[in-house]
C-alpha cells in the first residue's frame, strides 16, 4: 500500500512537473530565470508519524514550485528565490549586491516539526514482583495511573524564521564596513506536557500545551583597517526569548500514603505543596547581550594573528537571575619554513552566575513524632555554570613531499568548575590531547588520510548526585543517633550527599583512529572508503571498569553523469559496545 502510493506519486509528478529556464542579456546585464512547477501527494496512512518527523504531509494533492531569478552585470547582482512545498513549508531569499559597497540579503523559511512520540510510551503501570510459587503474577500496592487530556492530538510546531543581513561599505579608504543582522524565529503549535504528583500519587497527567515562542536577535558591527596590516572590529549582539503561551496549571493531589491512602498530614509535611493548583510549565523570558572586540593582524612575512575579546550577559527576567561571562581568544599561524606551518590557539572564558537562595518549608514542619526528624532544607544554589575555561593548542603542519602532508597537534583543555558539585571545591578537569595525521594526495588517482588521536582527562565531569550509594548508606547509618528509631527510608535524600562524587562514567582515556580513501571517477564522481573507530574507558576507579568502543566502516560512491544528475549510494555500519555496572546499553542503537 505504502509503496503503491509512492509509485503513483512519483509517476504523476514526473508527468506533471515542468521546468522553464529563460536567459536574456541586455547591455551588460544578464538575466537568468528558472521556474519549476510540480505537485506532490503524500499519504501517511501506513506511515508512523515518527518517520514523517519533518515531512508532514496532507492527504491531498498539493501543488509545489520554485522560482529563481538572477539579474547581474556591471558589478551588480540581484537575486530572488522562492520555493513552495505547502503553505507551511516555504523558503524565500532576496539578495542585492552593489559591488563591494552594499550587500543585502533577506531570507525566509518555514517548516513543521512533528516529533511523533508519546511521552507516556512504555510507562510502567504497576509494581510487579514476579510470580509466586503457584505461577501467579504478584503486583505491588503502588500503581501508576495516567490521564490523557489530549487524546488523539498530533503535536507539532510550525517554525518560521526571517533572517536579514546588511553589509555596507562606509569608506573604501580604510575598508570601514558596517554590518547588521536581524533574525526572528517564531514557533507556534502545541506540545505534550506530562506532570505528576509526588510518590503518594503516581498519577501522570498528559495534556496539550500551547507553544508560542518568540526569539528575536539583532546584531550590529563595524570594522575597519587601522593600518596596512591591522583590522579592528566591534560587534554587538542582543537576543531575546519570550513565550506568549498561556501558563499551564494542574491540580496537585492531596498528600497521602501511596498504598493505604492514610497519613495525609505526615506525607503533606514532606512536600512543598499539595492539594493546590499550580503552574507546571513556564518558559522564562530571557535576554542575552554580548559585546565583542576583534582584531586581525599580519605579523612578519607570513604570520597572522586573529584575536577577540568578549563580554556577555544572559538574564532570566522572570526570576532576576543573571550570568556574566568574559571570553578571550587568540589564534596565530605562520610559515616556519617553506614547507612547515604552525597554528597556535589559545582561548579562555570566565563565567559567573548569580547564586539564588532557595527558601523552602522545613521537611516535616509541624510534625513532632520522635521517629522523624524535622529538617531545614534551605540552601544557596551555587551554579554549575560558574567556571574558568582555558584551551591552548599548537599544531605543526609539514609538507613532506608534493603529495604527503603530516600533521601533529597537541592541546590542553582546562575547566575549573568553581562551585560544582561542591561550593569552592569544584571539579577541575584537565584534558591533554595529542593527534597525529598524515594526508596523501595523488590528485588523479586517489587521496586519503590516516589519523590517530588520544585524549587523557584527569578528573572528568561527573554527576553531582553521583551514581553509587551502597557505601554511602554505611556513612549515613553513623549519622543516626544511637538508640533512635528512625525510619531510614525517609533519608534517601541524604544519601545524595554521601555518595562518592569522584566517580564518573565519563571517559578519561579515549583513543580515536580514522582512515579515509577517495578515488575520483569520471564526471566529478568519486568512490569513498573510510573506517573510523574509538575506544574509551574510565580508569579513575578500577572497580568501575567503564568502557565503550565503536567502529564505523563506510563506503560510498558518487556519480555525476551530468550537472543535473547526481547519484550516490553508500553503506555505513555502526558497531559499538558499552560496558558499565549501571549503564546497561539496552537501546544505544
Amino acid at each position: 500500500m505504502r509503496n503503491a502510493h509512492a509509485c503513483w506519486s512519483l509517476l504523476i509528478c514526473l508527468l506533471i512537473l515542468g521546468t522553464a529556464t529563460v536567459a536574456a542579456q541586455d547591455e551588460g546585464m544578464t538575466t537568468d530565470m528558472t521556474v519549476w512547477l510540480g505537485n506532490h501527494y503524500t499519504s501517511f496512512n501506513d506511515y508512523s508519524h515518527k518517520v514523517g518527523e519533518y515531512n508532514v504531509g496532507v492527504n491531498e494533492w498539493m501543488p509545489e514550485g520554485s522560482f529563481r531569478l538572477l539579474h547581474y552585470g556591471e558589478g551588480k547582482l540581484f537575486r530572488a528565490f522562492a520555493s513552495f512545498y505547502d503553505r507551511r513549508n516555504m523558503d524565500g531569499d532576496l539578495g542585492l549586491n552593489l559591488g563591494d559597497k552594499l550587500a543585502l540579503d533577506v531570507t525566509y523559511r518555514s517548516l513543521v516539526h512533528r516529533p511523533g512520540q508519546d511521552k507516556l510510551a512504555n510507562i510502567a503501570a504497576r509494581e510487579y514482583f514476579g510470580q509466586n510459587d503457584a505461577g501467579e503474577d504478584q503486583f505491588g500496592g503502588k500503581i501508576a495511573t495516567h490521564e490523557l487530556q489530549d487524546m488523539g492530538v498530533d503535536y507539532e510546531v510550525y517554525r518560521k524564521e526571517i533572517l536579514s543581513k546588511l553589509s555596507l561599505m562606509l569608506s573604501k579608504k580604510n575598508n570601514i564596513k558596517l554590518e547588521a543582522m536581524h533574525r526572528s524565529i517564531l514557533e507556534d503549535g502545541n506540545e505534550q506536557g506530562v506532570t505528576t504528583s509526588h510518590c503518594f500519587s503516581c498519577h501522570l497527567v498528559s495534556e496539550e500545551l500551547v507553544v508560542e515562542n518568540r526569539t528575536h536577535e539583532v546584531q550590529a558591527g563595524i570594522q575597519g583597517d587601522v593600518s596596512d596590516k591591522v583590522t579592528l572590529g566591534y560587534e554587538f549582539d542582543f537576543r531575546t526569548f519570550k513565550s506568549n503561551a498561556p501558563e499551564a496549571t494542574r491540580y496537585y493531589d492531596t498528600a497521602k500514603h501511596p498504598v493505604h491512602g492514610g497519613a495525609g498530614a505526615e506525607f503533606s509535611s514532606r512536600v512543598l505543596f499539595d492539594d493546590t493548583n499550580l503552574v507546571h510549565h513556564r518558559l522564562p523570558e530571557t535576554q542575552k547581550m554580548s559585546h565583542k572586540l576583534r582584531t586581525k593582524a599580519r605579523l612578519g612575512k607570513t604570520g597572522r594573528l586573529n584575536a577577540s575579546f568578549g563580554y556577555n550577559t544572559a538574564e532570566n527576567k522572570n526570576v532576576d537571575l543573571t550570568t556574566e561571562s568574559i571570553t578571550g581568544a587568540a589564534r596565530y599561524t605562520a610559515t616556519l619554513a617553506p614547507k612547515t606551518r604552525i597554528i597556535a590557539k589559545a582561548s579562555g572564558a570566565r563565567i559567573e552566575a548569580d547564586d539564588p537562595f532557595i527558601n523552602i518549608r522545613d521537611f516535616r514542619a509541624g510534625r513532632d513524632s520522635p521517629d522523624y526528624i524535622q529538617t531545614d532544607f534551605d540552601y544557596t544554589r551555587y551554579s554549575s555554570l560558574d567556571r574558568t575555561e582555558v584551551d591552548v593548542s599548537a599544531e605543526l603542519i609539514h609538507r613532506a613531499s608534493k603529495g604527503l602532508v603530516l600533521y601533529w597537534m597537541n592541546a590542553l583543555e582546562l575547566v575549573d568548575r568553581t562551585d560544582y558539585p561542591v561550593q569552592d571545591d569544584g571539579i577541575r578537569s584537565k584534558t591533554f590531547i595529542t593527534q597525529a595525521k598524515a594526508r596523501f594526495n595523488k590528485m588523479q588517482s586517489f587521496n586519503g588520510s590516516v589519523k590517530y588521536r588520544y585524549e587523557k582527562t584527569v578528573d572528568p565531569f561527573i554527576s553531582g548526585r553521583g551514581i553509587f550509594e551502597a557505601r554511602g548508606r554505611e556513612e549515613l547509618a553513623r549519622t543516626i543517633p544511637a538508640g533512635e528509631s528512625v525510619h531510614r527510608f525517609i533519608y534517601y535524600y541524604a544519601r545524595e550527599g554521601l555518595r562518592y562524587q569522584d566517580i564518573t562514567t565519563d571517559p578519561n582515556n579515549r583513543h580515536e583512529v580514522e582512515a579515509r580513501l577517495s578515488f575520483p571517477t569520471a564526471s566529478n564522481g568519486s568512490v569513498n572508503l573510510s573506517l573510523t573507530g574509538w575506544f574509551q574507558n574510565t580508569t579513575d576507579l578500577d572497580s568501575l571498569d567503564v568502557r565503550s568502543w565503536q567502529i564505523r566502516p563506510n563506503a560510498m560512491i558518487n556519480l555525476n553523469p551530468s550537472p543535473e544528475w547526481m547519484v550516490s549510494a553508500g553503506y555505513t555500519m555502526y558497531m559499538g559496545k558499552s560496558r558499565g555496572p549501571v549503564t546497561v546499553a539496552l537501546f544505544d542503537g
Binding site: 547582482l77 518558559l283 548508606r473 537501546f587
Partner: protein
Amino acid sequence: MSSSSRGSNRLILLSIGLLTVAVAAIGLISSPAVAGTVDNETCLACHDDVGENYAMTPHGIYFQQRPALRDYGCESCHGSGGRHIEDPTPDNILNPANSDQFGSSILCTQCHNTEQFDEWEFSAHHNADINCASCHTSHAKVGHTMKKPTPELCYDCHSAVKAEMNLPSHHPVREGEMSCSDCHNPHGGSVSLTMDDSGRELCFSCHAEKEGPFVYEHAPVSEDCGYCHTPHGSVANNLLTQNEPTLCLNCHSMHFHATVVSVDGEFEVPQAPERASRSTEDGWKRVMLTKCTQCHGAVHGSDLPSQATSTGGNALTR
C-alpha cells in the same frame, strides 16, 4: 605607478598588485617558470568550454569592469601562460585547483579577503588541505559556483554524517529545511567548523528557550549539549545519544523505589528487610522501561520548584 589613480582605481591597482605577488609566490612554490604573457582570447581559443560561460562568471564580470584585467583575466589566477602555449601540457600552467594549502587558497584569499574568510587559515578545512576548488568551480556562471548543492557537496567527504542524517531522529537537513552551513562555517571555525566554538552557544542560537539561566539547573546543560545529544542523527528520540532511561543512568542512580545495585554490580539485600522483594530483576526491568522525563520533564532547567522537600525543589518535574 599609482600617483594618478586614487579612489576606486587605487583598489584595482592594489588588487592587481596583490594578485601579482600571489601568483609570483605560488609560482615560486609549485608552478612552471614564468615565460611570457598571453591574453584571454588565446586561452579561450583552446579552452572553449570555459569561454562559453566566461563573461557570465563572477570572475569574468569582475575582470570586465577592470580595464587592466579585462584581457588578461585568465593569468590572474593561472599565472603567465607563455610556456603553456609553447608546450600545452598541464604541467606548464598553474592550476590552483591542484594545489595544497601551501598554494591555492593563498591565491584566492588575496581577493576573497572579507571577514567571512578571517578564520580560513585556522580552519579544519584548510588544515585538511581542502582548497577552494574542492567545493567551488570558478568557471561557472553566477549562482552556480558550487560544485554541487549542499548537503550533497558536504556528503562527498563526510559520508558518515550522511549516514547519521538518515537515522530516525535528525535535524531536517535531508528534508531541505536546514543546510550544513546553518551550524558549520566551511571557511572557518576551529572546532568542527562550527559557527561558534562553544557547543552551547551554537545550539542556543536556535534553541534559546533552553539557555536560562534557571533557578534549578541540570549540570550537563552547563557543560555541553553533546553530553546527551548528538547533532547529526540518532536512533533515540530528540537526537539523544541513547534512549531513556539508559542515558540518564549514565550519571544517576536508579530511582530509590526501583532497585539499588552495589559498586561491584551485585544485587544487595536492601537496607530495609521488609522491602527486600523490591530489589529484584523485575525491579530492573521496571526501571529500564520507564522514561525519566515522564516525571522529570524540565530536564534543561526550570524556575519552578518540584514537589519533594527533600530534593530542595530541584527534581525538575515542572
